[in-house]
């Protein structure tokens, strides 16, 4: 039996920055203006139009440099990133090790201090990295071209919905205004097309946890523009009829998008294009190891068939066949336009390229296989805990791939405590609270775990032991679980003020106005 270590998270009780202000202190001095400049330009801001000149200084805090540094280092200590905890509780997020060498590469001025509109001749290195990584993703997926412009999976799904719209418009079929998705696909597979103006039709799961082929057949029509689907969906169950589903949508005249946010168990195993998909996306900040940056720096690499490539956003990275030089091609008349400024987050592409280079094709397959092995190993341990079950396991002996949506319904029936109580209590053992499920909760009392390839067997044993311990506490000492956490940075917070316009506070200004000083 794995022994759980005594733990207490850093708890600095750090005041809000504004509470620490000390008028007159300075944290950074701007460069001085040379006298010749000052002499020529004069008191420049007084030359600004009067009504647009700042009339009162902003209410920013005033602090010296060590105070600012210390504050933020304390806050960093009060954060359990993947670097410091067994972060397998965030199912669907593919938390994995982000190699440090990649961070050093992208912090170099050779990446960090590039302007996005520099002349191509000064950008050969980064353009080549992007070009070569695009070839990598084409090989991994079977698609023809990729863009790295979309920020994250959500924007990639949105981008692909725009491309579906452009495709149908180009064929004179603008009446196709419906997008199908499934209830266990990521919410963005509905939200992205909805933002692009589509009507969204959601297909619920059948008894085996994935949509029935007949349900898809019932859902398609002459209005179907396309399908946005994950596989495996968030249950970790691979839908073996996926190619039949794609065919049904194709026969109805629609296109199919494969949301590959859940691709970590599939490298070298099965490919989007080989199942017939027309578009797909990979989340580089998940599957391809780029760090999650407190919910930042995402790239949703969006891939398409040759037929759809003309709709990709500008610019694309191309290589001149004759000279071998790389360049940015902005001349894309059929493009759906810009999704965001410039080229997205190229540093994330470089990180992911470096990660793939460190692994090679065989290594990528090893990533997939170990991720799936880890998941099945964890599943065995977790399913042994009384009160926790694997969803849709009844009559289904198929192994899951890289993640599983569990149900704590039995534990809830026995104890009354919900999965949210259990998740909160696990924090007292040094792990980030786990992700229950996207809404709506179809699986009762859900818990979604995804142990990527970078956790060790001991990590898996520890995590299962934490869950077993908390499940036991739920039976024997329910108040301990209900009132948790006890060894985290802070104690239980009633979430309700955050839904109350009279009480919520999105800024310190708002807090002071509504609640007075601190």
């Amino acid at each position: 039996m794995t022994r759980l270590r005594p733990f207490h998270q850093a708890s600095w009780n750090e005041p809000i920055l504004h509470e620490q202000t000390s008028p007159g202190e300075r944290g950074l001095l701007p460069p001085t203006v040379e006298p010749e400049i000052a002499a020529l330009a004069g008191d420049a801001s007084s030359a600004l139009p009067g009504e647009l000149r700042r009339s009162a200084p902003p209410g920013l805090p005033e602090l010296s440099q060590p105070q600012v540094l210390r504050h933020y280092l304390r806050l960093s200590q009060e954060t359990l990133g993947n670097d410091v905890n067994i972060h397998l509780g965030l199912g669907t997020c593919t938390m994995k090790y982000s190699p440090k060498v990649n961070e050093e590469l992208i912090r170099s001025h050779k990446v960090a201090d590039l302007h996005p509109l520099q002349d191509d001749e000064t950008l050969q290195g980064i353009l080549e990295a992007m070009w070569r990584f695009e070839r990598t993703l084409c090989e991994v997926s079977g698609m023809e071209r990729f863009t790295f412009q979309p920020g994250g999976g959500s924007q990639a799904v949105y981008a692909n919905a725009l491309m579906m719209r452009a495709y149908h418009a180009a064929r004179g079929e603008s009446q196709r205004d419906e997008i199908l998705t499934t209830i266990f696909s990521h919410p963005c597979d509905g939200a992205g097309p909805a933002t692009a103006g589509f009507k969204v039709v959601t297909v619920y799961a059948g008894e085996r946890g994935y949509p029935d082929v007949d349900a898809i057949r019932a859902a398609v029509s002459e209005r179907t523009a396309g399908l946005m689907i994950t596989n495996p969906e968030d249950t970790g169950i691979f839908n073996p009829h996926i190619d039949e589903i794609v065919e049904i949508v194709h026969d109805a005249g629609g296109l199919c998008h494969y949301d590959q946010a859940n691709a970590n168990g599939l490298f070298g195993i099965t490919r989007a294009r080989d199942a017939g998909f027309d578009l797909c996306q990979f989340n580089l900040h998940k599957t391809f190891s780029s760090p999650h940056c407190s919910m930042g720096m995402p790239v949703g690499a969006s891939g398409v068939t040759g037929e759809l490539a003309r709709f990709l956003p500008a610019p694309m990275v191309e290589r001149d066949g004759a000279s071998g030089r790389f360049y940015l091609d902005y001349d894309r008349p059929d493009s759906v336009g810009k999704l965001r400024a410039f080229h997205g987050v190229p540093a994330t592409v470089v990180r992911s390229y470096a990660w793939v280079l460190a692994l090679g094709g065989e290594g990528l397959r090893e990533v997939a296989e170990v991720a799936v092995l880890n998941n099945n190993y964890l599943a065995k341990k977790v399913a042994e805990i009384p009160g926790i079950e694997i969803s849709f396991a009844e009559g289904n002996s198929d192994r899951r791939l890289e993640q599983i949506r569990y149900s704590l319904e039995r534990l809830q029936q026995e104890t009354g405590l919900s999965t949210l109580d259990v998740a909160r209590r696990t924090v007292d053992f040094g792990v980030s609270q786990y992700f229950p499920s996207h809404e709506p909760w179809i699986v009762a009392e859900p818990m979604t775990l995804e142990p990527a390839e970078t956790v060790s067997r001991a990590d898996l044993d520890t995590y299962a032991a934490i869950l077993a311990r908390v499940a036991k506490e739920a039976r024997e000492e329910p108040e301990l679980v209900r009132s948790s956490p006890h060894r985290s940075t802070v104690h239980y917070m009633d979430p309700e003020p955050h839904n109350d316009p009279e009480r919520w506070a999105l800024t310190w200004r708002a807090w002071q106005r509504k609640h007075g000083e601190g």
Partner: protein, 375 residues
């Protein structure tokens, strides 16, 4: 806010001690005193006191912060004392408890201004509680009955305790739950005859899908309103449509500025009510090919036809045509089914078969789901 600053919250408890007895005796209910006696003769044990105690066990962990009001004897007091409470006893009972005792105790607790009324029982008990308290105070059912079509019960007894505890400790957000009852005499004859009696105010987190991040009661109302506006404005048009009961379908009429009868079927044409609380005969007179029928799942079981809206009989539906049945439901209501199919039971197996299969359900503006309907 520090615990100490919180005012003591008052919670009422009414246990229907014979609820659930009939189920064990395969009698499909315990409403009839003769049958209860029969069940006890058959050796059926009481169910609800134990269930109530499970819920109380959870509540007891916050004993200091709670003031418990209980109905006398086996209607609550005994269960409360068994779990360490020293309850204020409200009301009186005779030798054998009756529905009248339940109603009297519930009314007394509403008079006493409890923050929440907990009751242990089934649909029959819920109907009694509804009659006694209406919408005066929020209530929550500890599931202990044979039939639980009403959407006012927690998923299980301990869950009821947790929901109550959080409701009392926290924000006190409430939603509406349908109170339904099935005619037991008819059910014993194999005939289902369900009736929708009204709506109790229940803690918003009573349903099993509603965890900390699920939709709150206000946003569920907003979702219903948006759905209602969309269906009224974009789906139905100017023709005749028959609107079944439910809070979601109520929103369809509200979007037209019309008031819906809560429990009945209303007919609308050209934005105006042409029949209110119509019976089957009226509906047969009105309906014709192309008449649309708007229904929503009623109660907690997922029935869209055949429970609480039997006026929409097989004959009425045939006249309109099965393809014209429009099912509307918010995402939260569908999710509450936990993947179980929607159900139809029109009493006409052929029609039920036609209505079954994968159907589109309108869940929001421009938004549909493909969901399985079974009979």
């Amino acid at each position: 806010m520090p615990e100490a600053e919180r005012a003591a919250r008052r919670v009422g408890l009414v246990v229907n001690p014979v609820a659930g007895v009939g189920g064990r005796a395969a009698l499909k209910g315990s409403d009839d005193p003769v049958l209860v006696a029969l069940a006890r003769e058959r050796g059926a044990e009481q169910v609800s006191p134990g269930r109530a105690e499970q819920a109380l066990e959870v509540l007891a962990s916050d004993g200091d912060g709670l003031e418990l009001l209980a109905a006398p004897g086996e209607m609550g007091e005994r269960e409360a004392r068994a779990r360490g409470f020293d309850p204020v006893v409200v009301g009186t009972i005779g030798e054998a408890t009756t529905a009248a005792d339940t109603r009297a105790a519930a009314a007394a607790m509403a008079d006493a201004g409890v923050d929440l009324l907990l009751f242990a029982g089934g649909d029959g008990t819920a109907v009694d509680v509804l009659r006694a308290i209406g919408d005066r105070v929020p209530a929550l059912g500890i599931p202990a009955g044979v039939k639980m079509h009403s959407a006012v019960f927690a998923v299980n007894p301990r869950g009821a305790g947790e929901v109550a505890l959080r409701f009392l400790r926290g924000n006190g957000a409430v939603g509406e739950g349908e109170v339904m009852d099935v005619d037991e005499a008819a059910l014993r004859e194999g005939v289902v005859s369900a009736r929708l009696h009204g709506y109790l105010r229940v803690p918003a987190s009573a349903s099993r899908v509603q965890g900390g991040k699920a939709r709150s009661a206000p946003s569920e109302r907003a979702a219903q309103e948006a759905l209602g506006r969309y269906v009224a404005g974009e789906v139905l048009g100017d023709g005749l449509y028959l609107v079944g009961p439910g809070t979601t379908t109520r929103a369809v009429l509200a979007a037209l500025g019309l008031e819906k009868t809560l429990l009945g079927i209303d007919a609308v044409r050209g934005g105006r009510l042409v029949a209110i609380d119509a019976d089957e005969r009226t509906l047969l007179d009105l309906a014709g090919p192309g008449t649309k029928v708007v229904v929503t799942p009623v109660g907690g079981q997922g029935f869209v036809l055949g429970r609480g809206n039997q006026q929409l009989s097989a004959r009425v539906l045939r006249r309109c045509g099965p393809a014209n049945v429009v099912v509307v439901a918010t995402e939260a209501k569908l999710a509450a089914l936990g993947g179980r199919p929607l159900l139809v039971d029109t009493g006409d197996p052929e029609l039920d078969a036609e209505l079954s299969g994968f159907r589109r359900v309108i869940t929001g503006p421009g938004r549909e789901v493909v969901y399985r309907v079974s009979s």
